[in-house]
């Protein structure tokens, strides 16, 4: 078992999930509460990683963050090293790749909140930030949990973007998915079995959190 890759995978998934929730909550709120035709374009953009092959996304990001573009050169000057083939690069790729898995459950959850409650809060002076913090998020707790778990799991299991953007650098960009690929390539099926079982275990535990933790309590009053 490659514990270094295990820790790196958990670190990547945790950082990615935290950033995704910070981005996806306001984005989903804009998509649900906003008005205007541009929202359809924004929603399509946020869903694009769902249909884009991971290797294609990884390739575009590799080019964008590399020395051939002004953005890539700017980031290199700012950080002192290129973002591609680094942990930071993996985080950027993972956030973009898993964005729909955070946004879509939140959009569904926010849209299910009774519009009469939103009207009441607006009349009582709640602006968009308070509306989101005091009404939408508490009433869509289960969607928030689903968004967090799906983002985490999707990042744990990603392969194409990681390989294209991060390569296979031990301790920096080698995640469990890359380890599993390497083990299979080397015909080390027993090690591959352990790595795959670890990934499976992570998925089962996280899904159990959605289905058990987010389950509404039964009203015992009958």
């Amino acid at each position: 078992m490659d514990w270094q890759a295990f820790v790196l995978t958990l670190k990547l998934a945790s950082v990615t999930t935290a950033i995704l929730l910070a981005v996806a909550v306001p984005l989903a709120a804009v998509l649900v509460l906003g008005r205007g035709r541009w929202l359809a374009a924004l929603e399509a953009l946020a869903a694009l990683p769902l249909v884009l092959p991971p290797t294609v996304l990884g390739f575009f990001l590799l080019v964008l963050l590399g020395p051939r573009t002004a953005i890539g050169r700017g980031i290199t000057v700012l950080l002192g090293h290129p973002l591609a083939f680094s942990f930071g690069g993996l985080v950027v790729g993972s956030v973009i790749y898993s964005l729909p898995f955070a946004v879509q459950p939140l959009v569904a959850g926010f849209a299910a909140v009774d519009p009469a409650l939103v009207d009441a809060a607006r009349l009582l002076g709640a602006g968009p930030p308070r509306l989101v913090a005091s009404l939408l998020v508490p009433l869509a707790r289960r969607s928030l949990l689903a968004a967090a778990v799906l983002s985490f799991l999707h990042t744990v299991g990603e392969f194409g973007v990681v390989l294209m953007l991060g390569g296979d650098i031990p301790g920096a960009t080698r995640t469990l998915s890359i380890v599993l690929y390497n083990e299979v390539e080397n015909f080390d099926y027993s090690a591959a079995g352990r790595t795959a079982a670890t990934l499976l275990g992570l998925s089962v535990v996280a899904l159990a959190a959605i289905y058990l933790g987010g389950r509404p309590k039964r009203d015992r009053r009958g």
Binding site: A116, L124, G125, A126, L139
Partner: protein
């Protein structure tokens, strides 16, 4: 103001001077649409709305104050209490700008006004329909709005409770010089509460004046239409 909602066309030009105005009309006449436009919850194609000389909406100037900036509160038929908050927290929701002590005092005053002091720690799911309506009223009054809009809010209360609450409410509103517009399709409500009645029919203002006059002329019109004598005269 002028607004279109699908096939429905609302076109109204009026000024309400009375402290109590009742917008009376059948279902689908545009009463709720009118209240939502006044509150700033919906936008109109063309509108100029002013309250106490302060312009709230002026489509020609592309001006539209947000709902929470108008000093207008509204209670609809559906109480729309926040289900995850206690009754006291619901009433305190619009008082974010107040210090804790003043906020608590205002919440207590409002709950007493609507006879809901004993409910303060309950959740909305633990309230009856009438209790929820009273709490919704307390929540709307708490920020001391300049204009209170009531969209058939007493339908869940029984007759006696409704009359008693209305009496207390009218005294309190008069004391705080709060203007009120009540939308109803019930002529009894219109007669019981109104100094001024606006009769709305198919999105148009058909009459505006003292309750007895407007309602009598509407009865006359309906009698003529049905070809029966006006037995209520």
């Amino acid at each position: 103001m002028e607004a279109r909602r699908g096939g429905f066309h609302l076109q109204v030009e009026c000024s309400f001077a009375s402290e109590w105005t009742v917008i009376f009309g059948p279902s689908g006449a545009g009463k709720s649409t009118l209240l939502r436009l006044l509150a700033g919850l919906d936008s109109a194609e063309r509108a100029k709305i002013a309250l106490d000389g302060r312009v709230l909406t002026d489509s020609a100037q592309r001006l539209a104050l947000k709902a929470g900036q108008r000093r207008i509160s509204m209670v609809a038929q559906q109480p729309a209490l926040f289900p995850h908050l206690s009754v006291a927290a619901n009433v305190a929701y619009g008082l974010a700008g107040l210090e804790r002590e003043s906020r608590n005092a205002r919440v207590a005053e409002m709950l007493e006004l609507v006879d809901a002091t004993s409910l303060e720690s309950r959740r909305p799911r633990e309230l009856s329909g009438g209790e929820a309506q009273r709490v919704a009223l307390a929540r709307a009054l708490a920020p001391l709005p300049r204009l209170l809009l009531l969209d058939e809010p007493f339908s869940a209360l029984d007759g006696k409770a409704s009359d008693a609450l209305l009496e207390r409410l009218q005294l309190w509103l008069a004391e705080h010089r709060m203007q009120t517009i009540l939308a109803t399709h019930d002529a009894t409500d219109a007669l019981a509460t109104a100094a001024e009645v606006a009769l709305l029919r198919e999105g148009r203002l058909a009459a505006l004046g003292p309750a007895a006059e407007v309602l009598a002329s509407e009865r006359e019109r309906l009698s003529r239409k049905l070809g029966t004598p006006n037995l209520l005269r």
